[in-house]
């Protein structure tokens, strides 16, 4: 049993390793354009260099702070409003249509307007991340509440559930599977929004590093950023999985 899991653990790295081999092959055996790819050694050198002069840590910390601040505000607001419109008919009438309408507008379309009001600093990045996270959380929380089995409502009234019990024993745990799907999507859009916001913000963060590197065609730097994103993406996935494993124990049987 344990052996099987170990083998599985190795196999999931197979394709990433193949991709790295492909990269190296392309670099040294590929055509003229492919030779523009950085050599693995260059990327490692760049990493060490940026690490020792502190800029890499700086960028990562700045980005992480923006990401998590945005995540916090977006998630709290999205979850809260999703619950509210899911549970309350009045809130639903007033808010749901509006939110659903705004959701269909691509975030990047707002960006120019936001820049006018917020400039291109921290605020813009945090705001855009919040928005991305908010919609993911709102939609999935709302859907989770809506898709609760209506039979349970009847059960609750026959068995004399109080409003508090109805909310904490049925709505909250019953909508959790969908909410956690929201968390997973939110973590994805968090990074995406961050890149988009930071590629126009002035002077710090991973997105800035990437767009700056692009302008100067520093391929090694671009690759480094890609690896960092991949790492954070993987971390997000691990976190989302852990949350699901813990909170949805009742389903994993």
């Amino acid at each position: 049993m344990k052996n099987k899991r170990e083998v599985k653990g190795y196999f999931q790295w197979l394709i990433p390793i193949l991709l790295i081999l492909l990269w190296i092959t392309a670099k040294y055996k590929g055509g003229y354009k492919l030779q523009l790819l950085p050599a693995p050694l260059e990327v490692i050198q760049r990493t060490l260099e940026m690490f020792t002069d502190g800029t890499l840590t700086d960028y990562v910390l700045v980005s992480a702070r923006r990401a998590f601040t945005g995540l916090f505000f977006g998630a709290v607001l999205g979850y809260f409003l999703g619950m509210l419109t899911g549970v309350s008919k009045v809130a639903n009438v007033f808010l749901n249509t509006t939110i659903q309408m705004f959701r269909t507008i691509p975030m990047l379309a707002y960006q120019p307007i936001l820049i006018i009001f917020m400039g291109i600093g921290n605020t813009l990045a945090i705001f855009m991340v919040s928005m991305g996270v908010f919609f993911a959380m709102y939609l999935n929380t709302y859907a989770g509440v809506q898709s609760l089995d209506k039979g349970l409502d009847e059960m609750a009234s026959v068995y004399g559930f109080t409003r508090k019990e109805y909310f904490f024993d049925i709505v909250l745990p019953g909508s959790l599977p969908s909410v956690l799907v929201g968390v997973r999507i939110a973590l994805g859009s968090m990074w995406m929004m961050l890149i988009a916001a930071e590629s126009v913000t002035g002077d710090s963060g991973l997105g800035y590093m990437a767009s700056h590197a692009r302008e100067f065609l520093q391929m090694d730097k671009i690759f480094l950023v890609l690896f960092i994103y991949a790492f954070f993406g993987k971390m997000s996935d691990v976190i989302a999985r852990a949350l699901e494993k813990h909170f949805l124990r009742w389903r994993n049987v």
Partner: protein
């Protein structure tokens, strides 16, 4: 605590233009076991839901303990066809939420009574279909209700589990003396368990048959006689229906 009487007087129910029940009269005595049989869509579930006050009558009256129902009554419990358990709560917690005082001690007792002792901590998801239905039975009975309404609770179970559950229901009914109304598609189940069998068709009660067999009942000739008798009333109307179908 003893059973409760349940009576319907000229009960009619309409959903929009759809007539589901038309002038239904019946009386179930305290502690009696009544089965309702009839073809799909004839309004059996609706009748139970009216008694529970999950729906309200369009016309007529339903009396519980000779008083008109005007609210959901915690003396009357409903067991649904699908167990409607909270999958994210332990077996014990599901039953606790069925007890009027939310008593854990009563819940443990109820679980013991339906033979689920030792499964208190399990999620409903790990229980078998029959065990889940037992759990929902425990939840219904934990508050010592005076009437139990069962809407095809055994419909989804395999034959052997059904027999086991029928015995369990009969035993609990004897122990707790509640009034029981069981909706079922299974004529033999009705004869096995009920004091009276109500046959419904075309939105009405077409016949009430008293089953005069001593308990525990065995499937002998007398048993078969009652089965035939009930089937006769269901089939009689069915042939009539088939003819009209052919006209079209």
């Amino acid at each position: 605590m003893s059973g409760i009487s349940i009576q319907g007087k000229k009960v009619s129910k309409q959903f929009g233009d759809l007539k589901v029940l038309e002038g239904v009269d019946f009386r179930v005595e305290p502690g009696e076991f009544v089965a309702i049989v009839g073809r799909s869509g004839c309004g059996k579930s609706t009748l139970l839901r009216l008694i529970t006050y999950l729906e309200t009558v369009t016309d007529g009256e339903i009396l519980v303990d000779d008083k008109p129902v005007n609210a959901i009554n915690s003396d009357i419990r409903f067991v649904f066809q699908d167990p409607r358990l909270l999958m994210w709560k332990s077996a014990l917690r599901n039953v606790v939420l069925g007890s009027p005082g939310r008593s854990e001690e009563d819940a443990r007792k109820a679980l013991r009574r339906v033979g689920l002792e030792g499964r208190e901590k399990d999620w409903p998801g790990v229980l078998s279909g029959g065990q889940r239905q037992r759990l929902s039975l425990a939840r219904a009975l934990v508050g010592q209700p005076r009437a139990l309404l069962l809407d095809e609770p055994l419909g989804a179970l395999d034959a052997l589990t059904r027999i086991e559950m029928q015995r369990l229901i009969e035993r609990l009914w004897k122990e707790q003396n509640f009034t029981a109304i069981l909706v079922t598609h299974d004529v033999s189940e009705a004869v096995l368990l009920a004091d009276h069998v109500i046959v419904m068709d075309e939105h009405k009660i077409v016949k009430t048959i008293k089953i005069e067999l001593s308990r525990p009942r065995v499937r002998n000739n007398d048993f078969a006689y009652y089965e035939q008798e009930i089937l006769k009333y269901i089939m009689k109307n069915e042939t009539g229906k088939e003819e009209t179908d052919y006209v079209i």
